[in-house]
Amino acid sequence: MEAAMISDRATVTDEALAKLAAEGDRAAYSTLVERYRGLAFATAYAMTGNSDDAEDIAQEAFVRAYRALPGFDPRRTWGAWIMSIVRNLCRDAARRRKVRSAHASAQTDCDGIADNGSDLAPEAALLEAERLGELRDAVAALPDHLRAPIVLHYAYRRTYREIAAALGLPESTVVGRLAAAMRRLRRRLATEVQ
């Protein structure tokens, strides 16, 4: 039944749902959570690099947003608001501990890649896994403002508009940061090869 209600609300704008939720409509808020949980989680993961932290941060963001709903201005954009809460929580978490290890610690799982790699010979799979591991390390070594767009764009296939909304940036800035990140990755990988 709840799913039916959510499907009925599919065409309702975020701000209208936020207003309904502020008036006590829990189903409306569930719809909002369903709409934005993926982007909130992906943003938190891109900024923290840890899926457990990302889950906690995204959930905490929705809890805080619910508590602050009575003060939400309907003229504001709900998506920008919830993503700003996510970003602030990520910054708080980063201040508590420098989370950069997850990307770097996601070392090459040779067995897993060998299993997933369908047509490659064992030696070629090992070589490819090593290259992917280098690329992961290179991404993990990027500064935060360059790593988050790369993760959101290439790992989560998010559009520039979605990335811009998630990070609170203009689209042109997102494109520029992606290009800058690509140049850094190429230089780092070229240095490692040499």
Binding site: R67, A106, L135, A155, A179, R186, L189
Partner: protein, 312 residues
């Protein structure tokens, strides 16, 4: 890498990111790529990196129970808020009990203060007045105790801690009041005692009759002859201006310079007029001590003490 190659690298990075591919690079970039092998390698690097990034990077998804956990977090927050609300209500109730107790205590304390001011000389009355706050405090304690007895044990502990603060402050104020009353009573008792002793003094003269003594002293010490009358004149001037404090100061200077008991009497009289009863008593006591050397002013002192005792 030349400057042109740097621009080409930037352009290739942008076009690679935007997904336009090598077919959509700018014509001048394409021309440069045709003749520059290094930039062609850069282009292939970008394409390789972009192609492997999706495979290299993990993209975990939120758990299936994400929404349920959000609602659990919201519910936990609401329970905490409700608990805090109950705590606030309890604190307000305890504060209300304290306010009632403080009002009862304060009203009884004011009554006792009034009794202490209007009946200072009557020791029995003062003792009665002193006894009132004790009874009142007991009443307040009983009231507060009966009120808090109905509350829970934790609330009682919090209320008791809060109640101790105003009670300790009230006790301190009461002690100070008692000390002041005791000092005032002692001064009045001493004044009455002095009055009785001076009333039985053998020689009685008026204060004005002692004035020549300063002239006598002035004969002996020429330096003080000029200043002592000046201080006395100043005292009389201030007394005429109804400035008793300044007059008392001037008379005291005259007394210290000449040792004239009439000046001492004037100091006592003006100090008394200024409300400084302790100084007045000290002056009269010193006059009595020096009575054997120069017994003077006794009538005046007796009159003043009579007036004081009559007023008391």
């Amino acid at each position: 890498m030349s400057l042109v190659c740097r621009f080409v690298e930037r352009s290739l990075a942008l076009s690679g990111v935007q997904g336009t591919g090598s077919a959509h690079v700018a014509p001048w970039v394409r021309r440069h790529l045709d003749r520059c092998a290094a930039c062609r390698r850069v282009q292939s690097d970008f394409e390789s990196i972009a192609g492997r990034l999706a495979e290299a990077l993990d993209a975990p998804e939120p758990s299936d129970a994400f929404v349920e956990r959000v609602w659990a977090g919201i519910g936990a927050g609401e329970r905490r808020t409700a608990g805090a609300g109950r705590g606030a209500i309890t604190a307000w109730a305890a504060a209300g009990v304290l306010v009632v107790a403080a009002i009862l205590f304060g009203s009884n304390l004011r009554t006792s203060e009034r009794a202490g001011v209007t009946e200072p000389a009557l020791q029995s009355h003062a003792q009665t007045a002193d006894a009132r706050p004790l009874g009142a405090s007991r009443t307040a304690e009983t009231t507060a105790g009966s009120s808090t007895a109905t509350t829970a044990r934790g609330e009682q502990r919090a209320a008791r801690d809060e109640r101790r603060k105003p009670r300790a402050e009230g006790q301190k104020a009461k002690d100070d009041e008692r000390k002041a009353n005791a000092a005032e009573k002692a001064a009045i008792r001493r004044m009455l005692l002095l009055r009785r002793r001076m009333a039985h003094a053998p020689e009685r003269t008026t204060p004005t009759e002692t004035k020549p003594s300063s002239a006598t002293g002035g004969d002996a010490t020429g330096a003080t002859t000029s200043s002592a009358p000046a201080w006395a004149d100043i005292g009389r001037y201030y007394e005429a201006q109804s400035d008793a404090s300044s007059a008392a100061y001037a008379y005291r200077q005259a007394w210290h310079e000449t040792g004239d008991t009439s000046a001492a009497y004037a100091v006592g009289r003006t100090s008394e007029a200024a409300g400084d009863i302790l100084t007045a008593v000290e002056c009269y006591a010193e006059m009595l001590e020096s009575h054997s050397k120069a017994s003077s002013n006794h009538d005046g002192v007796s009159h003043r003490l009579d007036d004081l005792s009559a007023r008391a």
